[in-house]
C-alpha cells in the first residue's frame, strides 16, 4: 500500500496536520507509537493558548503563534472544543520587570497581537483581587485563552479519521528507508510506504530525523511540573497569571482550567530522559514558592493531582519546520515547544504549503464532514439531561461522581472514530477520573466497561500506555486452579 503522506506522531501537531490534509483527496496515514492521541507533550502542559507577545519578532514562533491563535478560536468553535478567552496578565514585581512589560508589549505589537495594555498594580488587583500586593504593574493581553488540549488533539484526529485518514496506533518507528519516489517506514506493526513524510514525533523527532539525514538539531528535553487544584480553588484567579519571562521560559503561572480547576506550574528542569515525567518534591516546592509570589493566598492543600510534562525543546531557538536537507519530501515539524499548542493549526497549514512546494498536488474533497465534540452530561441543563436519558437510558447511570460523567458518554466515546483503549483514554474523552477523587470511585467501573467493550479480560485493560496494566489476575487464582485440576 502506497500512501501519499505519512505523519509520524499524533500529538497536537500531528493531529492538526492530519486534520488539514483530510480536506484533500489524498491517502494519508498517521503512525503513533502509543495507544492513543496526545500521549506526549500534548497530554501534560499549561493548556493555554498564548496571545503571542513572548516570541521574538521575525521568528516562526511569533508568526505561527498569532496566526495559530486565530485559527484555533475558529476551530474550537466549529468542533465544539472547550475553550475560553479569559485573557492573561504578566505581572511585574520590580521596576526592571515593569520595563520588561513595555518590551513585551512592543514585541506583541510587532507580532500583531491585538488587545494589550499595561495596568498599574492597583488596576490589576481590581480585576484580580487575590493578586499580590507586591505587584507593581501588569501586561494585560485580552486574546489569551485556555483550552482542553486532549480534547483539541482528539477532536482534530477524529475529524481527520472521519474524513478518511488512517490511524496506526502502537506502532513505534524503527527505521526509514529511501525508496524510489518516497520512503519505506519500518514500524513495530509492519512497513508503510509513502511519497511524503511529516516528522511530528515531538520528543522523538530527532531520532526520526536521523533515519533519513544527518542530525541538524539536538533535543533538549525540558520538564515542567504542575499542581492541579480542586474546583474549590478554581476561582482564585480569573486570568492566566504569568510572571515575567526568563531565558528558560514563561515562568510559573497560575490559571483557571477549562474544567473549573486551578493549574499551578511549571518549572524548568532537565529530566533523566525525554520520557521522564516524574514529579519531584523539590520541583513542586519550587513551583509552590514561585506561584505564591503572584497569588499569596493560593491554597495548595486543595491539590488533587501533580504531573509533569516534557517540552520538546531543541538547541535551535525556534520551531523547525522545513524539508530536510538531502531528504526530498521529508518534512520536519520539530522543536515544537511553547507556543506549540497555540501555533498547531498554523503549523499544519504551513506544512501543507511545504508539501505543495515539494510537488504534492492537493485537490479539495467534494465532501468533507465536521464532527463536533458531543456535549457532556455535566454541561447540560435539566431539559437536555431529560432528553439525553429519554434517547438513551445509559445517560442515567453516573460512572464518575466527582465530574458527573455518565455511562452513556463513555459508550458514545467507545463508538467514536478513535475509541479509548485505556482508563485514562476514557478520562481524556469524557472527564471520568478528572475530579477530586482522581478515579478512586470510577476507575473500576470504567475498566469494566472497557473490558466488556473490547471483549478482553480485565487484566488486559491498561491505566494509560499499553503496558500500564492495573490488575494482576484473579483473586484465589491458585486455589481455583487446584480445584479444577
Amino acid at each position: 500500500m502506497n500512501r501519499d503522506v505519512v505523519i509520524i506522531g499524533c500529538g497536537i501537531v500531528g493531529a492538526a496536520v492530519a486534520y488539514e490534509l483530510s480536506r484533500y483527496n489524498l491517502d494519508v496515514e498517521v503512525i503513533e507509537k502509543e495507544n492513543d492521541v496526545a500521549m506526549g507533550t500534548t497530554k501534560a502542559n499549561s493548556a493555554i493558548l498564548h496571545a503571542g507577545y513572548d516570541p521574538a519578532p521575525g521568528t516562526l514562533m511569533a508568526k505561527l503563534n498569532v496566526e495559530g491563535l486565530e485559527l484555533a478560536k475558529e476551530l474550537c468553535g466549529r468542533l465544539n472544543i472547550s475553550f475560553r478567552e479569559c485573557a492573561s496578565m504578566v505581572i511585574a514585581f520590580t521596576k526592571e520587570e515593569a520595563a520588561e512589560l513595555e518590551k513585551l508589549r512592543e514585541q506583541g505589537i510587532q507580532n500583531g497581537v491585538p488587545g494589550m495594555c499595561i495596568l498599574s498594580g492597583e488596576e490589576a488587583r481590581l480585576m484580580e483581587p487575590n493578586l499580590s500586593k507586591q505587584a507593581l504593574a501588569a501586561l494585560l493581553a485580552k486574546s489569551s485563552a485556555i483550552v482542553n488540549p486532549w480534547e483539541y488533539a482528539l477532536s482534530l484526529a477524529e475529524n481527520a479519521v472521519a474524513n478518511g485518514v488512517k490511524m496506526r496506533f502502537e506502532s513505534d518507528v524503527s527505521g526509514i528507508d529511501r525508496v524510489e519516489n518516497g520512503y519505506e517506514i519500518h514500524t513495530t506493526s509492519g512497513i508503510v510506504r509513502t511519497r511524503y513524510v511529516i516528522n511530528a514525533a515531538g520528543l522523538n523527532a530527532e531520532k526520526i530525523h536521523s533515519y533519513v539525514a544527518s542530525p541538524s538539531f539536538r533535543t533538549l528535553p525540558d520538564r515542567g511540573e504542575y499542581y492541579l487544584l480542586d474546583k474549590s480553588e478554581g476561582r482564585r484567579v480569573n486570568h492566566v497569571i504569568f510572571q515575567c519571562p526568563t531565558k528558560v521560559g514563561k515562568g510559573t503561572l497560575v490559571a483557571p482550567t477549562i474544567h473549573g480547576n486551578l493549574i499551578v506550574g511549571p518549572n524548568n528542569e532537565t529530566p533523566r530522559d525525554a520520557f521522564d515525567t516524574a514529579t519531584t518534591a523539590q520541583g513542586l516546592d519550587h513551583v509552590a514558592q514561585m506561584a505564591k509570589k503572584s497569588i499569596p493566598s493560593l491554597n495548595l492543600r486543595e491539590s488533587i493531582r501533580n504531573f509533569a510534562g516534557v517540552r520538546a525543546a531543541t538547541d535551535f531557538d525556534d520551531f523547525i519546520i522545513r524539508e530536510v536537507d538531502g531528504a526530498p519530501g521529508f518534512i520536519d515539524a520539530a522543536g515544537i515547544k511553547s507556543p506549540g499548542l497555540t501555533a498547531a493549526p498554523a503549523i499544519a497549514k504551513m506544512v501543507v504549503r511545504l508539501l505543495e512546494e515539494c510537488g504534492l498536488e492537493v485537490v479539495q474533497k467534494e465532501k468533507w464532514i465536521t464532527i463536533p465534540r458531543p456535549m457532556r452530561f455535566s454541561e447540560m441543563d435539566s431539559a437536555e439531561k431529560r432528553s439525553a436519558w429519554a434517547k438513551n437510558s445509559s445517560y442515567g447511570r453516573v460512572i464518575c461522581r466527582c465530574e458527573t460523567v455518565t455511562e452513556g458518554e463513555i459508550l458514545n466515546a467507545l463508538g467514536s472514530y478513535i475509541p479509548p483503549r485505556s482508563v485514562d483514554g476514557v478520562k481524556r474523552r469524557c472527564g471520568a477520573g478528572m475530579g477530586r477523587c482522581q478515579g478512586g470511585f470510577c476507575s473500576p467501573r470504567a475498566l469494566d466497561i472497557l473490558a466488556k467493550y473490547w471483549r478482553v479480560a480485565p487484566e488486559e485493560i491498561s491505566q494509560d500506555r499499553t503496558d500500564m496494566y492495573i490488575l494482576t489476575g484473579e483473586t484465589k487464582a491458585e486455589v481455583k486452579r487446584e480445584c479444577t485440576t
Binding site: 492541579l228 474549590s232 513542586l284 488533587i304 439531561k385 453516573v398 480485565p458 500500564m468
Partner: protein
C-alpha cells in the same frame, strides 16, 4: 412531597431512615448511588463490626444486612443506582437513574448521609513517576473483595489508616507479600486493634515517622524509596532505603464528601470538612440534617449508626412541627487544648433533666492518661477521665443538658489535660 429524603443508603442513611420511620414519618425516600444498600460496608468483608451496637462481632456486609432487613419491613421507599445531582436549601432534590431518568423530588426534610471519599496521590503531593499500580486502599479493596481481581503481588502501604491496615491483612491472605506500612506521623492513624491484628500478626513492619520520597518504574511501580522524616515531616537526607514492589496502596486519610452540601449553601466546618451541626444533627440550614462520615470521619460504624438514628429522630421531630428551638439558648462548642474538632459545634440547651448532648472529638496527639475538661470561661463544668487517647480513635462524651444550662456564657470549650505527667 416526601416527609424526608435521605441521601445515601449506607449505615448512616439506613439508621436515619429507620429512626424517622419509628418516630412516625411514613413518606421517606432513601436515594443510593450504588446498586445495593449498605454503602462501603459491602466491601468491608472483615469482621469487627457491631461490637458496641450489637455486642457481637459481625462482618461489614452482615452489619449492613441487619439494617437492610429492618428497613425492608417498613414502607420506606428506596431508589438504588440513583445519583443525586443537586440539593436545594428548600429541600428539593434532583437525581438521575438509568431506570427513571432525571427527577426532581420535594421533601419537608433531608438527611445528608453521603459518606466520605479517600484522599488520593495528588492530595498528599507524593513525588515520583506517574505509573500504574498505585491505588487508594479502598479502590484496591473494591477490586479484591467485590470484583475478585488482584491488584498486585508485592505491596507497600503508605499511611496507616484503618483501610490500609485492613488491606495489609487482606492482601496477605490473598497471597501477596506486604513489605511495609509507612506512616509519616509518629503514631498510627488507625485503631490499635488493627495495628495488632493486621500488621503484627502478619509480621508486616510499620515504619513510623517515615514517608515515600520517590516512586520508580517504567509502566508499573517497580520500586519505592522510603526515608525518615524530622519533626517538621521533612525527609532526612541519608536515611533513604528502597523497597522493590509492584503495588503501592495509599491510606492517607478520608474526606467527607460534601460537594452537594456546599452547592446547597450549607456552611461547612473546614476542620471536620463536614457541615456545622447542632446537637440534634441539624445543619445551619433548617430541616437539613447530616450524619455519619459525611459529617466527620468515624472509626467505628456503631457510632455512625447512633448518629444516623439521632439525625433521623430529629428530622421526624422537625417535620411533625415539634421542634421548639426558638426559646432555647444556643451554645457554641469550641475545640480547646489538645482537641482538633468537636461535633456538634453548637448545642441548643434544653433544661431537661434526662437529656444529654453526645459530643464527639479527636485529640491531636497520643495521650496515655488524660482528663476531658468541659469549661465555660474559667469555670469547669465537667471532667471525664480517659486513658489511651490517640488521634486515630474518636472520643465521645455525653454532656448533660442540666449541667450546660447552668453555664453563664454562650461558649464552652472541650479540652484535654494530659494527666500522665502528674503520675510520675
Amino acid at each position: 412531597m416526601y416527609d424526608l429524603i435521605v441521601i445515601g443508603g449506607g449505615p448512616a442513611g439506613l439508621a436515619a431512615a429507620q429512626a424517622a420511620y419509628e418516630e412516625g414519618l411514613r413518606k421517606i425516600l432513601v436515594v443510593e448511588r450504588d446498586g445495593e444498600l449498605g454503602g462501603i460496608l459491602n466491601q468491608c468483608i472483615h469482621n469487627g463490626f457491631g461490637l458496641h451496637y450489637f455486642k457481637e462481632e459481625l462482618t461489614g456486609p452482615e452489619y449492613a444486612l441487619r439494617f437492610i432487613r429492618m428497613v425492608e419491613k417498613t414502607r420506606i421507599e428506596f431508589k438504588t443506582d440513583t445519583m443525586v445531582l443537586d440539593v436545594q436549601p428548600d429541600c428539593t432534590v434532583s437525581m438521575i437513574s438509568k431506570e427513571e431518568g432525571y427527577q426532581v423530588c420535594e421533601a419537608r426534610s433531608i438527611v445528608l448521609a453521603m459518606g466520605c471519599r479517600e484522599r488520593a496521590r495528588g492530595a498528599i503531593v507524593l513525588p515520583g513517576a506517574r505509573l500504574a499500580g498505585i491505588f487508594t486502599a479502598g479502590t484496591a479493596q473494591r477490586y479484591v473483595n467485590i470484583e475478585g481481581h488482584m491488584v498486585g503481588h508485592r505491596v507497600v502501604i503508605l499511611g496507616s489508616g484503618d483501610i490500609g491496615l485492613i488491606m495489609a491483612r487482606r492482601m496477605t491472605l490473598e497471597g501477596a507479600k506486604v513489605l511495609a506500612c509507612v506512616e509519616i506521623m509518629p503514631y498510627s492513624g488507625g485503631l490499635t486493634r488493627n495495628i495488632v491484628q493486621c500488621l503484627h500478626d502478619n509480621d508486616i513492619p510499620l515504619y513510623l515517622s517515615h514517608t515515600i520520597v520517590d516512586i520508580k518504574g517504567k509502566n508499573r511501580v517497580e520500586q519505592v524509596t522510603v526515608a525518615k522524616v524530622d519533626d517538621f515531616k521533612k525527609p532526612v537526607t541519608g536515611t533513604e532505603f528502597t523497597i522493590d514492589c509492584d503495588t503501592l496502596l495509599l491510606s492517607v486519610g478520608l474526606i467527607p464528601e460534601n460537594e452537594l452540601t456546599r452547592k446547597a449553601g450549607i456552611p461547612v466546618d473546614e476542620r471536620t470538612r463536614g457541615a456545622y451541626v447542632f446537637d440534634n444533627m441539624e445543619t445551619l440550614t433548617p430541616g437539613i440534617f447530616a450524619c455519619g462520615n459525611v459529617l466527620h470521619v468515624h472509626d467505628l460504624v456503631d457510632y455512625v449508626t447512633l448518629e444516623g438514628q439521632r439525625a433521623g429522630r430529629a428530622a421526624a421531630v422537625y417535620v411533625k412541627g415539634d421542634q421548639k428551638t426558638e426559646n432555647l439558648r444556643m451554645m457554641t462548642l469550641k475545640a480547646g487544648k489538645e482537641v482538633t474538632y468537636t461535633v456538634p459545634q453548637y448545642i441548643r440547651v434544653s433544661g431537661s433533666a434526662d437529656e444529654s448532648a453526645p459530643v464527639f472529638f479527636r485529640v491531636g496527639r497520643g495521650i496515655l492518661k488524660g482528663a476531658v475538661v468541659v469549661q465555660a470561661e474559667d469555670e469547669k463544668i465537667a471532667t471525664f477521665n480517659r486513658e489511651h487517647m490517640s488521634p486515630g480513635e474518636m472520643e465521645r462524651v455525653a454532656l448533660p443538658m442540666k449541667l450546660l444550662s447552668r453555664a453563664r456564657v454562650a461558649e464552652i470549650s472541650v479540652s484535654v489535660e494530659d494527666t500522665s505527667e502528674l503520675l510520675k
